[in-house]
Symmetry: C2
Subunit: 194 residues, 2 copies
């Protein structure tokens, strides 16, 4: 029989708590101002918990980013019935409702400031609604017959780029981002129409 010792506190529920608390801090103060000490204090534990449950700060942030991609996929799934345009609108809506998380998800990996690249399968899952929409639009003869993945990646990039320029506030200071986004969605639709 196994010798039981001090009871385990670094359990899976604390893991969840740490994820929530970290996501909150990221959303409130931005990724840069999130420290392990703050995370631990907010979860009423010590920094050791992060190391025993995640392995370190980058793995914690990676887990937060993965959760972000899952939440994003859910919102895409909900918008799926509306077709491609609806996916595009939902994309920006989600990003504007989770600005800091979106910035961490894409900007973090881009800048290389944290080693928090999303797990490939999670990112792939997030892209699935778009892939399906592209495939069915192609099947219906409404979309160009280029390889589905190529079309989907291209559309994703076009949509992501506008949102990320808007969030980074790079570009003309008085830019009308909503108008630009709407016009871009229309252009995307026209550009890929069969």
């Amino acid at each position: 029989m196994r010798l039981m010792a001090r009871p385990v506190v670094h359990t899976d529920s604390l893991r969840q708590e740490l994820l929530v608390v970290t996501a909150d801090l990221v959303d409130r103060d931005g990724p840069a101002r999130v420290t392990l000490r703050d995370v631990a204090a907010a979860a009423r534990t010590s920094t050791t918990a992060v190391y025993s449950l995640f392995g370190g700060k980058s793995q914690l942030l990676t887990a937060v980013v993965d959760d972000g991609f899952r939440s994003f996929r859910d919102s895409q799934l909900a918008a799926s019935p509306g077709g491609l345009q609806s996916l595009g609108v939902a994309y920006r809506d989600w990003a504007l409702q989770h600005t800091s998380l979106y910035r961490l998800m894409f900007g973090g990996a881009l800048a290389g400031y944290v080693d928090c690249q999303p797990s490939p399968e999670v990112a792939a899952d997030a892209m699935e609604p778009l892939l399906d929409a592209v495939a069915s639009a192609q099947a219906a003869g409404n979309l160009l017959e280029a390889p589905t993945e190529v079309v989907a990646v291209a559309i994703w990039g076009q949509v992501h780029g506008l949102v990320s320029l808007e969030l980074a506030q790079v570009g003309p200071p008085d830019a009308d981002w909503a108008a630009a986004y709407g016009a871009a969605l229309d252009a995307v639709a026209r550009g890929w129409a069969a």
Copy 2:
């Protein structure tokens, strides 16, 4: 007459040297691994120089980013005679040749990991070739008559998004980015055609 004291070493040429050295380090090790001590050592000076010449690390990085936008604008200007498609190709070429810098320019601001947002007028200058190309294509009747700035921002975003997804390696692991980019440029052209 002014009382001369210890000769000035923190001169403008040292400022340039610091910019070059920092850009080198960013390009070699990525923005995250650049420390002021390394920068100072590489420029054979002390960290004080960064503070007296720039004010701090964020201002140094901002200056590097601004230089990046200027170099980017030069490459866009060189591609200007080829029209919109040529600008698009040059965009990705420059990004792939200055990956770390590009990541810092856009990912840094997006992730908020450093306070290094580009100076607005420098970013605006970088966008000028695109604005001009859009304006003249509109004048020639080849492009939609939506507000020039809206069209330009939308196109920039579409192009930037694909490049940034490629650099961040977010997306399908076996994605054919070159193909996706080429197809996207064609789609952009079709989508905004008059």
